[in-house]
């Protein structure tokens, strides 16, 4: 799928975030501009500490950007806090509540929205097979593998039905094999549900394999360095990773990221 025309679901313009006081100011994010179209899958890569998570928190409404930037959500200008409850957000760790069964973890957001428990459970129960969790609704989180816990967290995120989903390294803690399975599965689910996704990752291959566009951030202060469209047809088979186009994009991204990693490495050493 190419970049869709029409209005973006979210548009960040001139977004900065500074931490600390006058003595020790750290600019985490510096004048970032980013558009995500409706139904688009955008992946975000960058060296560690480049402000990816800060940018995420701003897009989720959890942190206020410095004054001066502009956030437009579904065409309307919004203050940071207005986005709370409008964006479905999945943090790095699954954050499942240990005292709740799988099904009751899945309906957490629905419960917050005030849906009746029985209705919410029915709705979540119908999604379990699609997420590979059929028969596990009455299990507790500690009885599940890492991949399954991550899928419960994903159902929880999916059931909070918002047009924009923010996924912060959702597969970062999984082993390589489980990770590949989860990527293919996520694309599958995304193609059926058609939400817009902003997906943070450390893994360049993952970024290309999943994304309509790959956005590279610079080392601190975080800026947008590169915005590369991925013109690979979908559905993408596993061997797409050996195609000439894939390798061309990968080379471009690796060069950009190495440059940034060196910069942050030198800065840390100085």
């Amino acid at each position: 799928m190419s970049v869709p025309a029409g209005e973006p679901i979210i548009e960040l313009a001139g977004i900065s975030k500074t931490f600390g006081d006058r003595d020790g100011r750290v600019v985490a994010v510096d004048k970032v501009g980013l558009r995500i179209g409706r139904g688009e899958f955008v992946t975000l890569v960058g060296p560690s500490g480049c402000g990816k998570s800060t940018l995420f928190n701003i897009a989720a409404g959890l942190a206020d950007p410095d004054p001066g930037g502009e956030i437009r959500f579904a065409g309307t200008r919004r203050a940071g806090r207005d986005l709370l409850g409008k964006v479905s957000f999945m943090p790095q760790r699954d954050l499942l509540l240990p005292w709740r069964r799988v099904i009751d973890n899945a309906i957490l957001a629905l419960e917050v929205e005030g849906m009746r428990r029985a209705d919410a459970r029915r709705k979540a129960g119908a999604m379990l097979p699609e997420f590979g969790l059929a028969g596990f609704e009455r299990h507790y989180p500690h009885q599940l593998s890492g991949g399954m816990r991550q899928r419960v967290a994903l159902i929880r995120t999916f059931l909070f039905e918002r047009d924009l989903m923010l996924l912060d390294e959702p597969f970062g803690a999984l082993d390589a094999l489980t990770r590949t399975m989860m990527q293919r599965w996520l694309l599958d689910v995304w193609q059926r549900h058609r939400r817009s996704i902003l997906f943070i990752t450390h893994d360049i291959e993952e970024a290309i394999f999943l994304g309509d566009r790959v956005v590279v951030m610079t080392a601190r202060p975080g800026r947008i360095k590169l915005d590369v469209p991925v013109a690979l047809p979908r559905p993408r088979p596993a061997h797409v990773a050996t195609s000439a186009e894939f390798l061309r994009i990968k080379t471009k991204l690796l060069d950009a990221i190495e440059e940034e990693s060196m910069k942050s490495f030198m800065a840390a050493g100085a």
């Binding site: 409404g61 409850g85 954050l95 957490l108």
Partner: protein, 247 residues
């Protein structure tokens, strides 16, 4: 472990203590008014049973009412402080000041203000039990993963809903352990308060028997009090395992 297996070690421990107790009386020639023999204490308990049970009933009543009252106020206060941090900042110095003095020091004030009856004992138990619960509840409610709180916020949850869905269940282990500590403390404070001035109760019996140099009766009351205390503690430990099974 089966119930029988769980009982083996405590029973063994009790037998060892009984043997050392009786042995010490014989070996060191301890006079019976300092350390009466166990059969003599058992006989005294049997002979005095109706009076001891009547005393126990009063003590347990005071301990139980004070415990429930203190525990409820403590949990409510901890929740209020978490929801309104400004309130916490204003009230915390007072709470710390009250808690820095042993509860028993307030006994004369309680006796003068509330009289020699049960009310003064209940007030002191509530204070003592309340603190144990309050400190634990506060710790539990605050020691929550900020990322989990952010997740709730991202779902659009307000402070009240976050407390109900996330903070309260997450703090439950800490609250329950506070409630467990407070059980034994409640009975101790009820007995001590009764010894300082009361019409009835195990503490009052201990005080009167001491005055009359009736040490068998003192020991009989002590044994009844510890058995009651241990039973309640065991009961609560059992409830705890069912309430907070995920830890």
């Amino acid at each position: 472990m089966s119930a029988a297996q769980r009982l083996v070690y405590p029973v063994l421990g009790l037998l060892v203590i009984a043997a050392v107790w009786e042995g010490a009386i014989v070996v060191f020639g301890i006079p019976t008014f300092v350390l009466p023999s166990l059969p003599a204490i058992a006989k005294a308990i049997a002979a005095d049973l109706p009076a001891l049970l009547a005393g126990l009933r009063v003590t347990l009543y005071e301990a139980a009412v004070g415990y429930v009252l203190g525990g409820a106020v403590a949990i409510a206060l901890a929740l209020a402080f978490v929801l309104a941090p400004l309130l916490e900042r204003a009230a915390m110095p007072i709470i710390v000041a009250v808690n820095s003095v042993p509860v028993v020091a307030y006994a004369p004030v309680a006796l003068v203000a509330l009289g020699m009856g049960s009310a003064s004992k209940i007030a002191m138990v509530a204070l003592a039990a309340g603190f144990a619960v309050f400190v634990n509840a506060m710790n539990g409610l605050k020691a929550i993963d900020p990322a989990a709180v952010n997740l709730m916020r991202s779902f659009g949850a307000g402070a009240l809903r976050t407390v109900w869905i996330l903070r309260l269940p997450a703090a439950l282990p800490a609250i329950v352990s506070g409630l467990r500590v407070a059980i034994v403390r409640s009975i101790i404070i009820a007995i001590v308060a009764e010894m300082l001035g009361a019409y009835a109760g195990l503490g009052q019996m201990i005080y009167l028997a001491t005055q009359q140099v009736d040490f068998l009766r003192v020991w009989a009351a002590i044994v009844v009090a510890s058995v009651a205390s241990m039973t309640l503690y065991g009961l609560f430990a059992w409830v705890d395992r069912r309430l907070v099974w995920w830890k």
